[in-house]
Point group: C2
Chain length 136, copies 2
């Protein structure tokens, strides 16, 4: 907060200085009005963009992209990934099996392999880790 006040104080000072310089430069005829206005316009355009960027920086977006490279890095196969998505939807093994037309046994196998690859003890932990890796 102290920093913000300091920055704004300096900004206002700089603007006032700019006004005075441009005013006397125009009166003495050494500077065209068009150029002065153009410079002012560009400066404030940049200030506007800067202020807005700063204010939006706090609510930083967590990059919703899926990290496909990480998936192959972890050697997670196609089927395993399907199962992982099922888990993230809150489905039981049985339900995932029904969805993918597989037996519950097969899902259990895939889940077990997933847990090893994600270094997790439970499916909920697998979800948390997968989110960290931006896999889901």
């Amino acid at each position: 907060m102290k920093k913000t006040i300091l920055v704004f104080s300096l900004l206002i000072f700089a603007i006032l200085l700019l006004f005075q310089i441009s005013k006397y430069a125009i009166i003495s005829g050494s500077l065209k009005i068009e150029i002065t206005i153009g410079v002012i316009a560009v400066i404030f355009l940049i200030i506007g963009i800067y202020i807005n960027k700063k204010s939006l920086q706090n609510s930083k977006l967590p990059s919703t992209e899926i990290n496909h490279q990480k998936i192959s890095e972890l050697e997670i196969t196609e089927r395993e990934y399907e199962v992982l998505k099922g888990i993230s939807e809150g489905l039981s093994n049985k339900e995932i099996g029904d969805k993918l037309f597989l037996s519950e046994s097969t899902i259990k196998t895939h889940v077990s392999n997933l847990l090893v690859k994600l270094n997790a003890k439970r499916r909920t932990q697998a979800l948390q880790i997968a989110k960290d890796f931006q896999i889901i």
Copy 2:
């Protein structure tokens, strides 16, 4: 894209018009230089903020805010919410108990109540629902 070109064309036209008006107004002495520059500055500050906001709007952030109102709406108590956070961290009931200095039985009670309140059958489904409600 066509819209962008149109908007920028109109913008440039408006700016040129502004320059001419201000130029002749100053020469005819009916307008002070300070005021002109001030107006230009404010206009471009707003334009800068506007441009930046538009450019960041595409990568819209999914509002990472927690919906506290929804939590009380669902009548989720303080303790239950603590347990929910534990679940979202991928912890087992035992681990949540250790963390909150409670017995596993107590955690089970809280989890059961949570599942009813969130209308979920499993803890993973509870997570998915809680995420939908922006509770976690």
